[in-house]
């Protein structure tokens, strides 16, 4: 097999086209930027003959050119994605083949966007997201990685090779290198090159997304459940409870995150079981949260309440015990026959420490929001009605704090992703051959000045996911403020 170049033979005429349209886009946006600095944009202008022009002069022209070039760029990019389907293998080089590997993701993305835009008026805040360009761009980036993770993690699609297998002769090879010894049925190229252990960088990146997409949102949800369960009463009751909880939160926040990680995620610490005990405490909060939530709501219907709470405690408790009890740690008391699953060694520790680091910030946000909202009239009305404090907190205050919390949730998933990367970067927690992005960056950085591709690929992947989450949060904030 021949080595692949970045855009292959067809790139010879697609690349200049792309360069031209991007240059035009940049020039047009710069022009309208400079114009907006020099003079305020003219929205409506009355002309001497008595008519009105909606957008006149250079401003309008620059805007029009910008939009035209944007569409042209989008069209060329679509060509890059679509052409490889019709052309023979390698005609559009590495980019073409990568885009072909991601085909299921493109289809899923197109379906999601098509359906969401078609029904956006009926979808509430989610639908409003599709009114803002920034929000849509962020959502597209996030969903790209979510779909990639699902297809790669559950159905083993997309990736070209096994992320852990080294193939001989492929050590530190540049992107597009053909396999040294190509067997039938094996994908013939390392699309993004090989790392210093001769594994496929592309497949590792794809499988790394599965680890991030599994841990980051779940850890953020747990952090939110802990923060909400403690923040609501702290803000609502204030007084001693608030002082104590705030002191504890500030205590954790005063730790530099990396120091905390180094203290919690070392093998010695795992041996003592401190993270396992922390997991026992932290994982209680979701059960407590949902228990109190349903208990407060169903108080007028005692029979139903009993049934629902019993089910919740039974299943929640079972999940809790299976999660907490781990073979080979000091906390191993639950019989194996009843143990639903074992979280692989390092992951539980990583999960716990990420939740632990995030929960105090969420606590502070919820506490602040609660203090603000509890002075509203509808809270006073509920109190006069004789509702219980927990009902007021969970069913009156919490729903009205959802706007800022949703925005922070998106940002926090991004932050959690960064934290996971930090852990990997220092080689803490996850096993060293794990394909997650932080560990891959850590492995790749040693040869960075000679073979940058091994570290660049996961770095850019992580950047795009976090950027997507931040853009999504920005779009959500804008749209929720517009109401």
């Amino acid at each position: 097999m021949e080595p692949l170049s970045w855009t292959g033979p067809w790139g010879a005429w697609l690349n200049p086209l792309l360069g031209l349209s991007v240059a035009g886009l940049v020039a047009a946006s710069l022009l309208s930027l400079v114009l907006s600095l020099v003079s305020a944009p003219v929205r409506r202008q009355s002309l001497p003959d008595g008519t009105l022009a909606a957008r006149a002069g250079l401003h309008g022209l620059a805007d029009l050119a910008g939009r035209a070039f944007l569409w042209l760029t989008a069209l060329v990019l679509a060509l890059y994605l679509m052409l490889p389907l019709l052309l023979p293998y390698g005609a559009l080089g590495i980019l073409g083949e990568m885009s072909q590997r991601f085909l299921p993701v493109w289809i899923a993305l197109a379906l999601t966007f098509g359906l969401s835009i078609a029904f956006k008026r009926r979808l509430g805040l989610y639908g409003k997201l599709f009114d803002s360009t920034i929000g849509m761009a962020g959502f597209a980036l996030v969903m790209f990685w979510v779909f990639t993770a699902l297809f790669a993690g559950l159905f083993d699609m997309i990736a070209t090779h096994d992320p852990l297998t080294a193939l001989s002769g492929m050590k530190n090879k540049v992107p597009g290198t053909p396999l040294a010894m190509a067997d039938d049925g094996v994908y013939p190229h390392y699309l993004l090159g090989g790392d210093n252990l001769a594994r496929d960088v592309f497949s590792r990146m794809v499988h790394g997304s599965w680890i991030v997409v599994q841990i980051a949102p779940l850890a953020t949800i747990f952090a939110f459940l802990v923060g909400i369960t403690l923040g609501l009463p702290a803000g609502f009751y204030a007084g001693r409870l608030d002082t104590l909880l705030s002191f504890l939160a500030n205590l954790i926040l005063a730790f530099p995150v990396i120091l905390l990680f180094y203290l919690l995620v070392t093998p010695e610490m795992v041996q003592t079981g401190v993270p396992a005990y922390m997991a026992m405490v932290l994982f209680l909060f979701p059960i407590a949260f949902f228990g109190v939530l349903l208990n407060a709501r169903l108080a007028p219907r005692p029979m139903l309440r009993l049934v629902v709470l019993a089910t919740l405690l039974l299943f929640g408790g079972w999940l809790y015990l299976s999660m907490v009890s781990q073979d080979g740690t000091p906390v191993d008391f639950w019989p194996d026959a009843l143990d639903l699953f074992d979280v692989p060694g390092g992951i539980l520790v990583v999960f716990v420490s990420v939740v632990f680091v995030n929960a105090p910030t969420v606590f502070r946000i919820v506490r602040g929001l609660t203090m603000d909202i509890k002075t509203r009239d509808y809270v006073a009305a509920a109190q006069t009605r004789g509702e219980s404090p927990w009902y007021i907190m969970l069913w009156e205050i919490l729903p009205n704090a959802r706007g800022p919390l949703i925005v922070d949730f998106c940002l926090r998933i991004g932050y959690t992703t960064i934290l996971l990367g930090t852990l990997g970067f220092f080689g803490l927690g996850l096993p060293p051959d794990s394909p997650d992005w932080g560990s891959t960056i850590n492995l790749g950085r040693r040869l960075l000045s000679i073979y940058p591709h091994a570290a660049m690929v996961p770095a850019l992947a992580l950047l795009s996911l976090v950027l997507g989450l931040n853009l999504l949060a920005d779009g959500l904030r804008e749209e929720s403020l517009r109401d």
Binding site: S36, P256, L259, L263, I450, P452, L467
Partner: protein, 347 residues
Amino acid sequence: MIRFLLSRLLTLLVTTFALTFIVFFLTNLEPSLEKIAKSEIGTRVSDAEVESWLDRNGYGEPMLVRYGEWLGVVPGWTHTVDGEVVAGRCEAPAGAVEAGAFCGIMQGDWGWSTVFRRDVAEIIGRSLALTGKLMFWVMMVMVPGALILGVLAGMREGSKLDRSLSTVSILTTATPEYVSGVVFIAVFASTAVGLRWFNGSATSAMEDATFENFTLPVLTIALYGMGYIARMTRASMTEVMTAQYIRTARLKGVSFPMIVLRHALRNALIAPFTVIMLQFPWLLNGVVIVETLFNYKGFGWTLVQAAGNNDIELLLGVSVVSVVVVLLTQLISDIGYVYLNPRIRVS
């Protein structure tokens, strides 16, 4: 004001004590001690030997007593053989051991680093100086850059300039140091790309910082913090720009640049000040990552070495310093906020 200050100082002291105890507890758990013993006397030793080594070196006492010794409120441990003191925590320069002497951080004795074979105080002092140099340049790049970005974006809310600059600041907050550092090295310092403008390592910057070897680390830390401060500045600027007195100035016929510079800027910079001070804990993270990536042997690098090699006394010293720095910046930011903003009165 005095009462406010005193109560804040008291909280700071209590927090420092609590945090140092937590760090002491976490670093002195049994497996860590066992590992130290094994690294000192060899890996193939029986449990009894480990036990006796720990006893001889003062690790056998209860945790609270040893925390007191480390603080300097309990006399240091001594090991006696046949009624004669042979070893102890407080070793005098001549090698003689005094029984009943206090030597903890309150007496200025920070302990002995087992990795670097030096006094912890000396190591921390030197690495702090190096990190101080790095932070100085980071601040010189980050603060003006962020303020300019934020003010430009916030002066006309919703304009094209605002939207493009806001997107830039979102991009910088979405780029953690280990990503931007890797990208910078790959682009500006690798043989693969070929632009060899800067050095990919900052080791030589420890003695002699030049534009070539210091730009990348400084830029890497500055970029991540810049976006956040810029967004805060923008928010506070847009708020100020809608205030009544700005409208008055506008109606009076003051030119737009004059309004921004003379009237809006001063009030818009109160909030970013607090944010900049509160950035210190985050910058500390950045420092650890960047110093590891660029091999600059400052405070962050020392932290990684101490934690990675189970160097208990050095790790304790590093933790105390970083925690105190974080708490002090919080205190300064609170005081500064009250001082800058006359609307807040502390009674």
